[in-house]
Amino acid sequence: MQSPSLENPGGLVLIVDDDAAMRLLLRASIERGGFDVVEASGGEEAVGLFTRNKPDAVLLDVVMPGLDGFETCAILRSHPAGKHVPILMVTGVDDVDSVSRAYEVGATDFVSKPINWLVLTERVRYMLRASRGNEELRQSRSSLEQAQQIARLGSWEMKPTESSLACSQETRRICGLGDGEPPVGLDDFLSRVHPDDRQAVERALEDAVHRGKSSRMDHRVVPLQGALTAVHHRIQVMDVDGDPPYRVTGAIQDITERKQSEQLEIDRNSVLEMVIGSDSLEVILARLVKLVENQRPQASCIISLLRDGQLVHGAASAMPEALLECLNEQAVGAEGSPPSMAAYFGDAVATTDMQIKKSSFEADFTRRALSHGLRACLAVPVFSGKGQVLGTVTLLSSEPHAHKRSDHRLLEMTAKLAAISIEQRSLTERLAHLAHHDTLTGLPNRLLASDRLDGALARCNRHSEKTALVYIDLDRFKHVNDSLGHLTGDLLLRQVADRLKGYTRKSDTLARMGGDEFLVILNRIVDISDVSKAAQRILNALVTPFSIEGRLLYIGASIGISVFPDQGLDATELQRNADIAMYSAKNEGGNRYRYYTEEMNALVIERLEIENDLRKALERNEFELFFQPQFQLSSRDVYGVEALLRWNHPELGRIPPARFIPIAEETGLIIPLGSWVLRTACEQNRTWQDAGYSPFRIAVNVSALQVVHPGFVDEVAAVLQETGLDPRWLELEITESVLMRDMSVVARLLQEIRRLGVSVAIDDFGNGYSSMSYLQRLPVDCLKVDQSFIREIEQLSELSTRSRTLLRTFVSLAASLGVRLLAEGVESDEQFKFLNEIGCEMGQGFLLGVPMPANEIEMLCSQGWDPESCHRSA
C-alpha cells in the first residue's frame, strides 16, 4: 500500500462482482493503484460493506444475482455518504442500454468488458482524484457562498453570447431572485434594479460586454419582497484582449447598512443644524420623521407632543388622517394607545401584533391602524433633560413582529433629538416671550409695546388713520405698596391687568410699561370721542375696589392721552406727551383723563427742574426748618414743637413740602434729606436748651422709607449722642402706612427707638386703612389725629356728626391705651371748643400757632412760655 499523494491519492475501493475471478483481478488492478480494497460478491453485501467502511469509490458489476448493479447503485446514491462517492459500473461490451441506465441510476462512469486492467487502475485513480477535486470544489463553493453571505457580497458571471447571468446565492439573495442554479435572465436581473438606476446599470453592462469597459457604481435594488437595498456594484470585463462580446463578471455588495448609517449621520447633523438655526419646531420634527423613514423605508413614524396631559400632533409620515386624528388631543393614560401608554409610563411600549393584542382601551387606535394594514407598533417616550416626558415617537409597520432591538435604538435616538429640539425651541420661545412680556402680568412689555406702536404708526401713515396712546398710571398704588408691601402690590397689579384686559379690544395693545404704569394703544380711531369713552371706561373699571387677601383696596388712575398725528408724529413724541398728560391728570387730583396740551409740557418741565434742583439743594444749603408749637388745649400752654421742612428755591421761591417730598421719596433723596432734618432738629433743640430756655420736646417727621432703611435706629442714637440732646426731648412722627409694612419688623424698630428714650407719635392717625387693633401691639406714645376729622367738625351735619363721634372714640381709646392724643389743624374757635370739651389733650394749628423760624420760637419762649409746666402736668 502506498501513502496517498497527488499521483496516488490512496483510499478505500469497494469491489462488487459475483465472479470470484473478476474480483481477484479487479482487486489486483485496484491495489496496484495504491488503494485498499473491500470486496462484495453481491448487491446486498455491497450495501452493508458500504455503510460500515464508507469507501472512497465503488466498482460495481452490472449483472449479478440478487440486487443487480443498477439497483445497488441507486441504493448507494440514496445513502447519506453515497451522494458524491464515485461509482464505476462494469458493463458488458457494446451494451449501450446498460451504459445509459448506469448514468440514470447515478453512476459516475462505466467501464466495458473486457477490461484492460492497467487502464482500469488509472481510471480508478483519476476518478478518485476528480471526486476529491469535486468535493473540494463543493466545499470551497460552500465556503465561498458563506463568505459572500457574511460580506453581503454576491457575484455573477455573464457569458458573452447569452443574455443571462450565472448568479451566486448571495447575488440572488440581495436581488431577491430566488434560490436555484439556473441562470437568471438579464431582463429579470435588471427588473430588480431600482427604476431610476436601471438605465445606468443597463448601459454599464452594455459597455462591458460590447466595449470592454469595466465600471463600478452604487445603485439601489428593489427585491420583490423586502426592503430597498443599496448596493455597490463592480462590473469587470474578463478577457479584454479578445474581441467583443466579452465575458463579464460582477461583484454586487449590499451596502444598505453602510448607506443607512451614512444617511443617519447626515440626517442627524441636519436636524441639529436646524435646531441651532431658525427653523420652527414643526419643520424640525418633520425632518426627524424623515430621518426615521430613511432608516425604515417600510415603516411609518409619528411624533406626538405632550401638552397639559394630552398628546398632540407633532409630525408624521404620510398616513391616513383618521389614524393621526385619534392620537391628537388624546389624554395619556395606563390604558390608552401605545403612544399614550408610553407617555404615561415613561417607558417604551411595543405591540408586536395588534391583531392579537386587541384591547378595548386602545380599540380606536388599533382598529384604525389595522384598517390601514399596520400591525406592529413601537412607541417610546421623549424625555427632557430633567426626565420629564415631552412626547412620544411611534413606529408602525405592516408586518407583525417587525420591530427589533435596532428599531428601539433608532427610536430612542430620535426621541433624544426630538427632546433637544423641543427643549431648545421652548427655551427660545420662552426667551422671546420674556423679552417681550412682563413676567408679573403676562402683558406685552415696553419693548413689545414700542414695536406694536411702530407698526401701528406705519399703518396710520399708509391709510391716514389715527392712533391713540392711553397712558395709565394708578393713583395711590405707591401707598398700597408702601403700606401693604410689594407682594400685595404685585397681586393688585395682576388684578388691574386682568381688569384692563376686559376693557380693550383684540386689535388694541395693552402693555405694562413698568411699575404701576400701563399703556393702551388704540388703533384705527374713527372718532376721537371713542378714545374719551375708552378712557372713561378704564377709569370706571379701576375705581371699583379690588379685593386682595381679604382687604378692599381703593385705587384709581390718572390717564394721559396723545393722539397721532395731532399730539405727536412719532412714537417717542407720542409717548412723552401721553406721559405728560398723565402727570397733569395726576396733579389735578387723579382719577381723570387728560389729552395732552402744550401747557402741560411747561408744568412737566418744571417738575423735572425740581427733581434736578432737589439733588443740589442740600449742598447749596437751601433747606430750612420751621417750627410749629404744640399746645395743651386745657391751658393753651405750649407743650413742644414740630419741625417742618422748608425749601427756599433760588428761582421759584419757597416750595411747599407737598411738591417736593414725593419727588424726594421717588428719587431716594429722602434718606439724606431725612438725616439732615433729624440732625438739624436735634442740634436746634440742644441749642435752645444751651441758651437757657426751658427744655421742650421736638417732633420730627420720619418717612416710611427712612424708618425701614437699614441702620436707622443707630443713626438716631448717634445723632442724639453727637448733639448731646437728651432723648426724652425728641419725638419721631411716623405715618400709619409705616406701621402697615411688616408688623413684627416695625414693632421691633419702634421698640428699639423707644428703648433709646425717644418717644413715638403716629401721624395722620385715623386716615389709614388699618384697624385700630395694632395700637395695642405697637409701642407708641402719641396719636396725632388727622386734620380731616378736625375740619369736618364744622362741615355739613352728617359729616360733623360722624367726625365728632370718631373724635370722642379716639379720646377714650387714647385714655384706655395711656397715650397722648393730639388734634392737628385746629383753626377755629369752634374746633378748639369742641376738642377741649371732649377732653382732647393737645392741639396744633394756625389758631394756636403757625410754623415759624427758630428765632421766633425763642421770642415765644422769652415771652414767658413755660413748656415745663405742661410736662409736669402730663
Binding site: 473478476m22 483481478l25 484492460n116 486492467w117 492497467l118 487502464v119
Partner: protein, 150 residues
C-alpha cells in the same frame, strides 16, 4: 516502466478494439502462439502481477478451471429443459470469465449462445454447447501449460 507498458497496452487496446469490430479475424492475428488464448490479454493479466509474485494468473486460472465445469453442467441442464433464460445467464457468465483469461474464441462462442438464449431461439444451442465444451478442454490444457510453463 509502467508508463511505457501502459502506452503499449493502450495501443494494444486500440488494436484489439478495432480488430474486434472487424469480426473473428482478430483471433488469427492476435493469437499467433495459440489461437485459443489471446497473448495481449494474458500479458495484461501478468502486468497486474509483475514477476508473478502474487501468483495472480495461477489463481485466476485456478478459479476458471474450477468454476467452469459446474457452469457447463448448468448450461446442459438448461438446454435439456429448454430454459432460454438460464442459458442466457450462464452463457453470459462464461463469456465474461473466458474473456478474463484471454480465451477470446471461447468467449465469442459463449456470446453466440448468450444471444440465442436472449432471443429464445435455441436451434443452434446444442451445437454451440458442444463447441463450448470442446473448446473449454482445449483452453484448459493451454492455460495449464501456460501456468506450468511460467
Amino acid at each position: 516502466m509502467e508508463m511505457l507498458a501502459l502506452v503499449d497496452e493502450q495501443e494494444g487496446v486500440f488494436r484489439m478494439h478495432s480488430d474486434h469490430s472487424n469480426g473473428g479475424a482478430a483471433l488469427a492475428r492476435a493469437g499467433e502462439n495459440s489461437p485459443l488464448l489471446d497473448t495481449g490479454k494474458l500479458d495484461s493479466l501478468r502486468s497486474l502481477d509483475p514477476g508473478g509474485k502474487a501468483g495472480l494468473l495461477k489463481r485466476v486460472v485456478g478459479i476458471f478451471v474450477e468454476k467452469t465445469p459446474p457452469l457447463l453442467e448448468q448450461m446442459r441442464a438448461a438446454l435439456e429443459n429448454g430454459d432460454a433464460e438460464e442459458i442466457f445467464r450462464t452463457a453470459h457468465s462464461l463469456k465474461s470469465s473466458c474473456a478474463t483469461v484471454g480465451a477470446l474464441a471461447l468467449s465469442e462462442t459463449c456470446r453466440r449462445l448468450e444471444l440465442a438464449g436472449r432471443q429464445g431461439s435455441l436451434g443452434d444451442a446444442p451445437e454451440l454447447l458442444r463447441s463450448i465444451q470442446a473448446q473449454f478442454h482445449q483452453v484448459c490444457e493451454a492455460l495449464i501449460r501456460l501456468i506450468e510453463g511460467s
